[in-house]
């Protein structure tokens, strides 16, 4: 069967599965809609969290980015998994004990302030929409390339599916479809990785094959071979870092605290029955995430080696079929600058005189090939000539990753609207039924906006992703952390901290990304930290300002201090038995 038939078959089967599960688990109450009734088993919640967390960026883009960035790509691996440690240790168990539905709920109640609640609602909505736009783009790429349907139709089919199970099923429907989606996406990621590991290094475990020796008879280590290929083509060695360590550290930190503050992931911990359940499900989730995250760098190295071996000095007339297909999408482009009919792929920005002399001598007239990083995972099975069904499977996996995350985000948006805004701010006496209706309308509206962004992708998506993480890092994370670990932190301190954090981070990013994009380079940056990493400084400012303001303003009321006491221990205690430190 052809690639396209296989893709239709596998994607069709998985979609039918999601719809069936969604139909079986419809939500009847707001509690089921928001947090799935709070009765999900930790291991299932772990899988659902993993699928929620791993977006189209993790599945489709991350290995590709690492493939081109080498060791520096480790910021995503350490940032996203390391942030998960912060979430599991510092936030999840306490927020579960707190026992409300959303992050703005916690911020609003803990800081006894409607202003803080509304700031949190707005941040949650901005962060979530930024993310949804990225997911929809991923859906669009998969549909247009593998099913060869127009982008618009692809996005409409994708949003239709999400609409069906997010609006009907709420968190309950989403949780069980996410369990299925995790299984699909991890299988789809591992199968080609195992094939590649066996083909290139003769071991079925990608994590080991990554450090193994090549099967091409040279007996060379894969990574040494890749370093040599890189140096020959004028790139920095694959296993060495290029960016300054301080910037790498700042970006990693911003990704860590940003990811720990993402509302759609935090809310997953409300769906387990108790605090112990929240802790255990955090463990399962990171284990499930780690399976993909330790495989991704191996895939990156395999893909990079394969790509260079396939295209370097290859004759364009005899180029394989996959190359031509990706050329149609514009994500691969070849321009024969020196007219020799061969592809020269090298780093023409290398200023080393020896390398430049070598390039001149060989008659190279500049790099002739551009490859979009996002296609590496999707094109990988074809580049390595794996069976057709594997290609179809990867398409289904990419869709599972994008849809599961999109659904989680849409739920946050609809909850923020119905629960945090309508019920807690505008109309506190709304009935259960009315609130559920509001949540469904919110989800439907959010899906519509997401579909619009998917069809007309704003050119600034890549830029605003830095925003999403920066904002989450500079606002939510410190506010929640101090809310739990510092009993005396008060409304004034937290609000001042969040405002300074957000204003500083947002102005820095806007300044370098939109106002003076030509000055966006190391020598102009504050402490040499790029806009991607500036959330770290925003977070530090937030902490400092909050500590200072707190000293000069009244203590939080006794009831609030009791709430803090209460979330620190798993068992429910009455107000009489409180402790005094903190």
């Amino acid at each position: 069967m052809s690639v396209q038939t296989w893709t239709y078959l596998i994607v069709g089967l998985t979609f039918a599965l999601y719809l069936y599960i969604a139909y079986r688990s419809r939500a009847g109450s707001t509690k089921e809609f928001y947090v799935s009734g709070g009765g999900v088993k930790p291991i299932h919640n772990g899988m659902a969290t993993a699928a929620d967390w791993m977006s189209a960026a993790s599945f489709i883009s991350m290995a590709g980015i690492i493939s081109f960035a080498g060791r520096d790509g480790g910021v995503y691996l350490m940032g996203w998994t390391g942030g998960y440690v912060l979430l599991a240790l510092l936030l999840a168990p306490y927020l579960r004990k707190f026992g409300k539905f959303t992050v703005p709920d916690f911020v609003g109640d803990r800081y006894y302030s409607q202003v803080a609640r509304i700031v949190a609602v707005l941040c949650a909505i901005v962060v979530s929409f930024t993310y949804v736009a990225g997911q929809m783009q991923g859906v669009g790429i998969v549909f247009s390339r593998f099913l060869e349907v127009p982008l618009t139709q692809g996005v409409l089919i994708g949003t239709g599916i999400v609409f069906f199970y997010a609006v009907l099923g709420g968190m309950k429907g989403i949780t069980y479809t996410q369990v299925a989606q995790y299984c699909v996406l991890i299988f789809a990621f591992l199968v080609p990785a195992i094939f590649l590991a066996v083909m290139m290094t003769g071991t079925p475990i990608p994590q080991l094959g990554f450090g193994g020796t090549m099967t091409d008879g040279s007996g060379e280590y894969l990574l040494d071979k890749l370093d040599n290929l890189h140096v020959d083509l004028g790139f920095a060695a694959y296993t060495s870092g290029v960016k300054p360590a301080i910037d790498v550290a700042a970006i990693t930190m911003a990704l860590m605290v940003g990811t720990a503050g993402l509302p759609h992931v935090i809310v997953r911990f409300y769906t387990v029955p108790n605090v112990t359940g929240a802790r255990i499900s955090a463990f399962w989730a990171l284990l499930f995430i780690a399976i993909l995250y330790t495989t991704a760098p191996a895939v990156a190295a395999f893909a990079r080696t394969n790509l260079i071996n396939t295209v370097d000095q290859a004759s364009y007339a005899e180029i394989p079929d996959w190359f031509k297909k990706w050329e149609i999408t514009g994500l691969v482009a070849f321009e024969d600058k020196n007219g020799d009919g061969l592809i020269q792929y090298y780093n023409d920005a290398n200023t080393d005189p020896q390398f430049q002399a070598k390039a001149r001598e060989a008659g190279w007239a500049g790099n002739e090939l551009t490859v979009n990083r996002d296609i590496m995972v999707l094109a990988n099975p074809e580049i390595a000539q794996l069976p057709n069904w594997v290609v179809g499977l990867v398409a289904a996996g990419g869709l599972a990753a994008a849809l599961s995350t999109a659904a989680g985000l849409l739920l946050v948006i609809s909850t923020a609207f119905a629960h945090d805004l309508v019920k807690r701010c505008l109309k506190p006496d709304i009935s259960e039924k009315g609130e559920l209706l509001c949540a469904r309308i919110g989800a439907a509206a959010a899906v519509t906006v997401a579909a619009y962004f998917g069809i007309n992708p704003p050119g600034f998506v890549a830029q605003v992703v830095a925003f999403a993480f920066g904002l989450a890092a500079a606002s939510f994370f410190p506010a929640i952390l101090m809310g739990i670990f510092q009993k005396k932190m008060n409304r004034e301190g937290a609000v001042a901290g969040m405002l300074i954090g957000i204003i500083f981070t947002a102005s820095y990013i806007i300044y370098f990304k939109f106002v003076v994009p030509d000055k966006n380079s190391t020598e102009h940056w504050l402490f040499g930290i790029s806009p991607e990493g500036i959330g770290t400084i925003g977070m530090i400012l937030n902490f400092i300002v909050a500590q200072i303001v707190m000293r000069f303003t009244p203590e939080p009321p006794t009831e609030v201090q009791e709430i803090v006491e209460n979330i620190r221990t798993p068992r429910q205690f009455t107000a009489a038995s409180k402790t005094t430190d903190g």
Binding site: G73, T81, V85, Q207, G211, M253, L286, T294
Partner: protein, 86 residues
Amino acid sequence: MATPENRRAHWRANLRLLATLLVIWAFVSFGCGIFLADTLDQVEFAGFKLGFWMAQQGSIYVFVGIIAYYVWRMNKLDREFDVHED
């Protein structure tokens, strides 16, 4: 019966555990994976340079270990100080 002293002691034990685990967390990621990576790259094992391996593999394995230990230890602490869920 959990007295206020128990709860206070439980919280202190919790903070000590968190501090230890976060030091390890920072050491493997920011230490081994970033600031010490070039130095560690002098060591090679099983086809990897150590700094590179820590940045792309090792730190993640340690993270999983950190959470596993945390879950086990916290559940034990809850019972020791009699603040576990019924």
